[in-house]
């Protein structure tokens, strides 16, 4: 009989403890980020979609079609077509840079392998599309200018490298 009553009291107390926790939270401020209205802060190292930005110094992209990124990609998401000169020989420059967003696993290996800091993973994170076809992207046609913190960071990266005169450095 005593145990019966003690069980009830103990049970009710533990329930009240739980009610207390939720009540405490009732008076706390919501933790929600009101997403489409308020945008999250994107850290510098964020790995979004791959982009081939335009080098403001040259007015064109920096890719030399060395195929390092193609080899580094663990998922075969990149394909490059080289530019052909007037003599029919391929030139060290990418004419078409195909990037398959559908198979990309955002591992950053292509960016790390690039000796010329030509590619970078951007801040874009809303990557859903309605059409499977649009997942296959051609990056040279975009002529994207990378601005903001990421852009400044990227520019400082390759300017540093060209100033130091070394073609090869890690990026990312």
């Amino acid at each position: 009989m005593f145990k019966y009553a003690a069980d009830i009291i103990k049970g009710v107390l533990s329930l009240c403890e739980g009610l207390g926790v939720t009540l405490k939270h009732f008076f706390r401020k919501p933790f929600t980020l009101r997403y489409p209205d308020v945008r999250p802060e994107i850290p510098l190292r964020f790995r979004g979609r791959l982009v081939l930005p335009v080098d403001p110094d040259k007015g064109a992209h920096r890719c030399t079609a060395c195929m390092m990124c193609v080899k580094a990609c663990p998922n075969r998401s990149i394909e490059i077509e080289k530019e052909t000169g007037e003599d029919g020989k391929p030139k060290p420059r990418a004419a078409k840079y195909y990037y398959n967003l559908g198979t990309c696993i955002f591992c950053n290996m292509c960016v790390e392998s690039c000796p010329f800091a030509a590619i970078v993973m951007s801040d874009e994170y809303e990557l859903a599309v309605y059409d499977r076809e649009t997942l296959m992207q051609e990056l040279t046609a975009e002529n994207l200018r990378l601005d903001g913190a990421k852009g400044a960071w990227w520019k400082s990266k390759f300017r540093e490298e060209t100033a130091a005169g070394k073609g090869e450095a890690s990026n990312g």
Binding site: I8, L15, G18, L19, V21, T22, L23, H25, F26, R28, K29, P30, F31, T32, R34
Partner: protein, 357 residues
């Protein structure tokens, strides 16, 4: 018995409540006497008007209560809740309802069609009928039956038929299990509720809803005399309307959605409507039985009734969003081993006290 006498009796039964409404009915009848149409048509029209009013109230109230629950739970869970449709998200549930109503109404091919379609109707009917005897204010009651509280117990028992029928007709093992659970649960928890109400009826000396409220006039609310009964009523009634922590019939993580697994569209909306109206009814009955009904200073009776009811609703929601779900055999044990004995002792003590003091 002559026809006129019979009608008079029914009228007496239906309209014999307090002041404003029956005054209005009498005035209508007097006006109606000017035409040469039998008064039975007027009665019918009044019945329809009352039914429509109750239905409208049920629907609007359910919409509001869903919105309120979503906002309240959001607050407990440090988030914002609906805030997109309408100002402060007020129209969110309206939009949801419209969505449910225009959605395709799927009848799976293996269901028992008639029962499957009838089940949500039965569940809703039980809820709707209960609403008729809720005293919103002095005289503001659709039908103040002399057996009001008994009527509530009887009619709310209809719901279990609906739930069981829905679970069985769905031809789904999860649904069947949900239906079975709800039957067992409602039967088990009806008894503590009954015993608790018995104590109140003994105190009030009447089963009429209005009478019970009047018995508590002068702030002699029964919650003061019967605090344990109040708690037992809240818990058992919460279990009877299948809300968390007693939401075993639909137990999402165990039975997918229990008896409503196969339901969609309009039929699902009916279950949903019934569930939230039940929440309101249980709170309203708790207010009527224990918290002095519409009684209160300054505000009109109707406002007081709503305020008190929503206070009880809030407590039930608070419980829902805090506790984990109870297990099915613990649920039975809880009813038979804890609630029922305590309720019986409570009843006995009440009886002795009333008899000798």
């Amino acid at each position: 018995m002559e026809n006129g006498e019979e009608m008079e009796l029914i009228r007496e039964l239906l309209y014999n409540s307090g002041e404003p409404l029956s005054e209005f009915y009498r005035w209508l009848h007097k006006a109606w006497a000017g035409f040469s149409v039998p008064p039975v048509f007027l009665d019918l029209m009044i019945q329809f008007a009352v039914a429509a009013a109750v239905f409208g109230f049920v629907a609007v109230n359910a919409l509001w209560i869903i919105y309120y629950e979503r906002k309240f739970s959001a607050k407990l869970q440090i988030r914002i809740g609906p805030n997109r449709v309408g100002p402060l998200g007020l129209l969110q549930t309206v939009a949801d309802t419209v969505k449910l109503l225009i959605k395709e109404d799927i009848n799976p091919s293996k269901v028992d069609r008639v029962v499957f379609i009838l089940a949500p109707g039965i569940v809703f009917l039980g809820t709707f009928l209960t609403m008729l005897v809720i005293p919103f204010g002095n005289g503001l009651i659709a039908a103040d039956l002399s057996i009001g509280i008994l009527y509530i117990l009887a009619v709310s028992g209809l719901a279990v038929i609906g739930l069981l029928a829905g679970g069985w007709a769905s031809n789904n093992k999860y649904s069947l299990m949900g239906g079975m659970r709800s039957a067992a649960q409602i039967v088990a928890y009806e008894i503590p509720v009954l015993v608790v109400i018995l104590g109140i009826v003994m105190l009030a000396g009447t089963m009429k809803m209005g009478g019970i409220v009047e018995a508590q006039a002068g702030y002699r609310w029964f919650v003061i005399y019967q605090p344990i009964a109040f708690l037992i009523f809240l818990i058992a009634a919460n279990a009877e309307i299948n809300r968390a922590p007693f939401d075993l019939p639909e137990a999402e993580s165990e039975l997918v959605s229990g008896f409503i697994t196969e339901y969609s569209g309009m039929k699902f909306a009916f279950f949903f409507l019934a569930e939230y109206t039940n929440l309101f009814i249980v709170s309203a009955v708790a207010v009527t039985l224990f918290l002095g009904g519409w009684e209160g200073p300054f505000f009109p009776p109707f406002v007081w009734f709503i305020i008190k009811t929503y206070a009880v609703v809030t407590v039930l929601m608070w419980m829902r969003w805090t506790f984990p779900r109870i297990r099915v055999d613990h649920l039975m044990q809880f009813s038979w081993k804890y609630l029922l004995p305590i309720a019986l002792v409570n009843l006995l003590v009440t009886a002795i006290v009333i008899k000798f003091i």
